[in-house]
């Protein structure tokens, strides 16, 4: 009973941190609503270190993700014949009012909510597992730009998340 309450409180704190970090990355990226790519970056910042571990076990440098996200935009423009580096700009400000995620970000939150009974506790690896299962979108393209095998990354993330579950 005590363990369940402790786990629930820990998960709430992790969700709060995850959402705040995702929003910060979105604002740095000139977007108000965090998408899957911002949640993935946020997961890598979580103190449990499991998201980073999943990347490392899949042979990917976690700190290379941000540049890969930017690179996939440049690559996407190049595919239509445009050579354009997106001009850098200062971060934008958060909108007042309710927290809102972009569609891909909401997808992550919905999947986390649907599987919350398995989170003891919620870990960054859970987020990595969900994002690695997405086949389209900015996050998926960024992972491909990094040379990530999404199946390998998802397996690594799921195994780490399961160990976290077993430890609790």
């Amino acid at each position: 009973m005590f363990q369940a309450i402790k786990s629930k409180l820990s998960n709430m704190s992790t969700i709060k941190l995850l959402c705040e970090r995702a929003e910060t990355y979105a604002l740095l990226d000139q977007q108000r609503e965090p998408g899957a790519e911002h949640f993935l970056l946020a997961a890598l910042d979580l103190p449990d270190g499991t998201a980073r571990l999943a990347f490392e076990q899949s042979g990917v440098e976690p700190d290379a993700l941000r540049a890969a996200i930017e690179r996939q935009y440049v690559d996407a423009l190049r595919l239509i014949g445009l050579k354009a580096d997106t001009p850098a700009d200062m971060p934008i400000s958060a909108s007042p009012g309710f927290y809102q995620a972009a569609s891909s970000g909401r997808e992550i939150m919905q999947e986390l909510a649907a599987s919350r009974k398995d989170h003891r506790p919620l870990l960054g690896a859970h987020v990595v597992g969900i994002v690695a299962g997405m086949s389209h979108g900015v996050a998926a393209r960024a992972l491909r730009a990094l040379g990530v095998d999404a199946v390998v990354l998802r397996s690594a993330a799921d195994a780490i998340a399961e160990n976290g579950h077993a430890k609790a």
Binding site: Q30, Q31, I80, G81, L82, T86, P87, R141
Partner: protein, 73 residues
């Protein structure tokens, strides 16, 4: 100068849609830079809105933080 004839739409929908996302993001950034420049040159929001083809309220709602960014620099 980009010749629009040089733009080719990929036949792979994933690539074509990724290009759309990248173009929207590029347009958003250009818009913010242009609005910041306009505000620095003293343009009122009504003029910016007219140039963007949207209402003054819509322009202000979406881009008013550009003015805040500007005053903080």
């Amino acid at each position: 100068m980009v010749d629009l004839h040089d733009i080719t739409v990929p036949t792979d929908p994933d690539e074509a849609l990724a290009a759309v996302v990248a173009l929207r993001r590029l347009a958003d950034r250009i818009e913010r830079q242009a609005v910041r420049s306009a505000l620095r040159q003293g343009w009122p929001w009504s003029r910016i809105a007219q140039a963007l083809g949207i209402t003054k309220q819509a322009a202000h709602k979406r881009l008013s933080d550009v003015a805040a960014d500007d005053s903080s620099t």
